[in-house]
């Protein structure tokens, strides 16, 4: 079949007449019958990886006559990836005027973002565990794991570590990623790649303003020459916040919360690259008011606020150690702090809930292309979470009553290997990772992807993988003095097994469609339950959930720059514990984006549909909304480039089902929110 396949292929590809006349045939220059020679050589060629060696023995003239196929406007490298990857580019980020990572992910097929008005939560293929702080997805910033060490939280909303202007590309890799990345890569991996000083060259200053008293300022500077690249950025923003109406309760204590939904933050980032080294540093701080009275706090009390602070520093070295063997070595340090003040109806004062985590790690990764037809990736990483502190105390005029003061440390070692084996137009991608945790022991996770590049236009992928999420320190050791919550240090990792069949097709260079059938089975789901023996809440490995569904997407790029994309996903969920449908899960998610160039402007309209979702006690019906972005290409006013983004354009009443942390069944989303930014190149 292979021989026949090659015969047909190259018969089609070869020119019937050589198109290059040879002036002075020399030893290296073949005769005009080179087509025949080439045909013979090509027929004898092995798989693609052996191509170069054999090709190099051909003459220049012969090489010039070989046809190349499959050139596309889309980034086609994702074709061979062992996953149905979605890539978001810098152009898209600029054109949509996205303000957070959550905004971007909300455009990805099969994903949906929800909010409790403090953090953004990502639902992946119908699965969203309320208030799991996105611990089921792994967030990587330039390849560095950025989930914090206590809650394993991936910050996707305003608490995110990076300004969107600093992001070059975002890749969402759905499915289990533990065979390469380790913990948290249960539902997918979000890979954020930062931009360079070169693409920012010079200084840019931005001023922003929006409704609900929103304003922001940012400055960034890029410098680059042939050996180095520097990018520095600083920004600050604040918003007084919307007046939030919590009307869906009979409780008379609730109503309108004015001036409590405030939000403010600042971020710093620096990235310096020299030769084979890259140093990255990022810091963010974000303070949020609560208009929603969580955990039974007093409604309308402005003292309830929470602050998240994160820092990340990493030094990476990349080199080709020997031909075909690339080595990446990295040392990193991270810190995440959480400080919340809760206004409980206490006689003397408030309650304070703090956590502080710090870790350092080293990793080495080799990409080995020395073996024909194989790309091997292997590596090891070690992480020392040397400070993991959780603290809870009632504050007051009396000495503080400490309910929880838990300090500990944890270590973790992981080794992994992955091979991509190229056989003709097949790619076999197999990987295995072994992790050892000081807290609970070892775990092994395999992955297998079989990718069939049926043609340069069509790819079919059959994917199997398993992944895990290590129970985090919060789930294992948090308690409030055994008042309502107790610790459970015996938790096991949560596990997922996933099967997927994905298909990608390029109708022509501008038209792409993809579809995916998947099944995720999550076992030992870590859930919080009431222990009937003592009436205390604790995390337990209880649930078992299966999600199966289908995602379809299509996108088109026209030569004038118009872009259109559409996606729709349906999923059926089943919770084995209850034998019923999973809560917080929509059956149907659909989205459509259109982006049109209009002279010096580009207008982008996003339409979103989210199916009905349930909570244990109520239901949030299906909702749809639209967002608009309008950005100028060149400066228009006072020498500034202008960008405008309006979320919830038609001011629809939108809501998300609330978690048990809140007294309400549903929390309203923001109404129409507009944000204008003026950017000057200095």
């Amino acid at each position: 079949m292979c021989a026949l396949f090659r015969t047909i292929t190259f018969a089609v590809l070869l020119p019937s007449q050589p198109e290059f006349a040879v002036a002075q045939p020399a030893s290296r220059f073949a005769s005009s019958r080179s087509g025949v020679t080439l045909f013979a050589v090509l027929c004898l060629l092995g798989p693609d990886a052996g191509f170069a060696q054999d090709l190099s023995s051909l003459s220049l003239e012969e090489l010039l006559s070989v046809k190349v196929t499959g050139v596309s406007r889309f980034d086609q490298r994702s074709n061979e990836a062992p996953s149905a990857v979605t890539i978001i580019t810098r152009d898209q980020i600029r054109d949509h005027a996205w303000r957070s990572l959550g905004d971007m992910l909300d455009s990805v097929p099969g994903l949906f973002m929800t909010t409790d008005r403090v953090y953004g939560y990502l639902g992946v293929r119908g699965f969203l565990q309320p208030s799991d702080y996105n611990s089921n997805v792994l967030l990587l910033i330039d390849g560095i794991a950025a989930n914090d060490a206590i809650y394993n939280q991936a910050f996707l909303g305003n608490a995110g570590l990076l300004d969107t202007a600093l992001i070059e590309r975002v890749e969402f890799i759905p499915g289990p990623g533990s065979s390469v990345y380790g913990s948290n890569a249960i539902l997918g991996v979000i890979n954020v790649i930062t931009t360079t000083g070169r693409s920012e060259r010079g200084t840019t200053a931005e001023l922003s303003a929006g409704n609900h008293g929103s304003r922001g300022v940012s400055v960034r500077h890029g410098h680059a020459d042939d050996r180095q690249d520097l990018l520095v950025s600083a920004s600050a923003w604040r918003s007084d916040g919307e007046t939030v109406t919590l009307a869906d309760t009979d409780d008379a204590r609730f109503g309108r919360a004015r001036g409590l939904d405030h939000d403010r933050g600042k971020r710093f980032m620096a990235r310096y690259a020299w030769d084979e080294f890259t140093l990255l540093g990022a810091y963010s701080e974000r303070t949020k008011g609560y208009a929603t009275a969580p955990y039974g706090t007093v409604f309308g009390d402005p003292r309830t606020v929470a602050r998240d602070t994160q820092a990340l520093i990493a030094l990476t070295h990349r080199t080709e150690w020997q031909p075909g063997l690339n080595l990446q070595t990295r040392a990193s340090f991270g810190s995440a702090r959480y400080k919340a003040k809760w206004a409980f109806p206490l006689p003397d004062g408030t309650n304070r809930d703090d956590s502080d985590s710090r870790w350092w790690g080293v990793e080495v990764q080799a990409t080995d292309t020395r073996f024909e037809h194989h790309t091997l990736v292997y590596g090891a990483e070690y992480r020392d979470e040397f400070r993991l502190r959780q603290h809870n105390a009632d504050l007051g005029p009396e000495p503080d009553e400490v309910r929880l003061d838990d300090s500990r440390s944890a270590r973790h070692l992981g080794v992994y290997a992955q091979d991509e084996w190229r056989i003709d137009n097949w790619r076999i991608n197999a990987g295995l990772r072994i992790d050892h945790y000081s807290s609970f022991g070892s775990t092994v996770n395999p992955r297998l992807g079989i990718i069939h590049l049926i043609s340069p236009r069509t790819t079919v992928k059959y994917l199997f993988g398993s992944a895990y999420r290590a129970p985090n320190v919060y789930e294992m050791h948090y308690h409030d003095g055994n008042d309502t919550m107790k610790a459970n240090p015996d938790l096991d990792p949560e596990r997922v097994r996933s099967l997927e069949l994905a298909l990608e097709h390029h109708f022509d260079s501008d038209w792409r469609a993809a579809g995916s059938l998947f099944r995720n089975q999550i076992r030992k789901l870590i859930v919080q339950r009431l222990d009937p023996e003592d009436g205390l809440l604790a995390y337990q490995n209880l649930g078992r959930t299966s999600v199966r569904g289908v995602t379809l997407s299509a996108s088109r790029i026209w030569s004038d720059g118009t872009r259109l994309s559409f996606s729709s996903s349906w999923q059926a969920t089943h919770d084995s514990e209850s034998g019923q449908r999973l809560t917080h899960s929509p059956r149907h998610v659909a989205k459509a984006d259109v982006s049109v160039p209009l002279g010096n402007w580009r207008a982008t309209l996003e339409a979103r549909y989210l199916g009905a979702r349930t909570t244990p006690d109520s239901r949030v019906s299906a909702q749809s909304w639209a967002n608009l972005a309008l950005v100028s290409i060149d400066p228009v006013a006072a020498g500034a480039r202008v960008s405008l983004r309006v979320n919830n354009l038609f001011d629809r009443d939108l809501a998300d089902p609330a978690s048990e942390e809140f007294a309400h069944d549903r929390l309203p989303r923001e109404g129409r929110t507009a944000w204008v930014t003026l950017a000057w190149r200095l």
Binding site: F5, V12, L13, Q24, R28, F51, A52, Q53, L55, S56, L58, L60, E61, L63, L64, V66, K67, V68, T69, G70, R77, P130, D132, R198, S199, A224, D225, D226, R227, Q228, D275, Y295, R318, E320, P323, G324, N326, D353, T369, I454, S455, R457, T458, L517, L525, Q528, R529, L537, L542, G543, R548, H574, D575, E577, Q580, R581, P616, R619, E660, E661
Partner: protein
């Protein structure tokens, strides 16, 4: 972050019999789609652009004359790229012979120095980095090749329609003290004098 709820049931399932049937249907559908698409689309194949380009660069180097004093025992071809797919075929060229010397190929990071190379192929670099890299070897006997027309390199390999073609800047070759065999010049799409 104190209390976290768990997913729990909401509404009774709508008949597991239906779900089972749907699953069987989906299974069949998937297999059918795969087979169908494989059959329909099977008349084409991938062509290895990177391998082809690497082979062309090797071929071009066979016809370059470096100043006698500039070459050591080996000829070093540096591939400046972030993309292992681009550099992979070059690793397989190492050990071949160029101007009766052994060819060494090295992949280097985009920000690495290149003035100790005899030839450099710059691929996938930002326009301004490409300009900076080329400026850093201006006047040196370093053959520069790039994969974007008008890049400012001595030889540019470009995709024209479905073929790889090359443009030559005789001026830049000359100012670096290099020369390219005239019969190769005749195969070039364009020669800038």
């Amino acid at each position: 972050m104190a209390v976290v709820s768990a997913p729990s049931p909401a509404r009774p399932p709508r008949g597991s019999r239906k779900l089972g049937a749907a699953r069987r249907f989906l299974g069949k559908w998937a297999l059918l789609a795969w087979v169908g698409i494989a059959g329909l689309a099977g008349a084409q194949t991938l062509s290895d652009v990177h391998g082809l380009r690497a082979a062309m660069i090797y071929n071009l180097m066979l016809f370059v004359d470096w100043p006698a004093e500039s070459l050591k025992d080996t000829v070093t071809l540096c591939v400046i790229t972030d993309d292992p797919d681009v550099s992979r075929p070059f690793a397989e060229l190492a050990g071949k012979t160029v101007r009766s010397k052994t060819l060494m190929t090295q992949r280097r990071a985009p920000l690495a120095k290149i003035d100790d190379c005899d030839a450099v192929f710059l691929s996938g670099l930002d326009e301004s980095l490409l300009a900076d890299k080329l400026a850093s070897v201006a006047g040196l006997p370093v053959l520069t090749l790039a994969s974007s027309p008008g890049s400012g390199a001595m030889i540019d390999l470009a995709l024209a329609g479905e073929r790889i073609v090359f443009d030559v800047s005789a001026t830049r070759l000359r100012s670096a003290g290099l020369s390219l065999a005239s019969r190769v010049m005749q195969l070039a799409r364009k020669v800038h004098h």
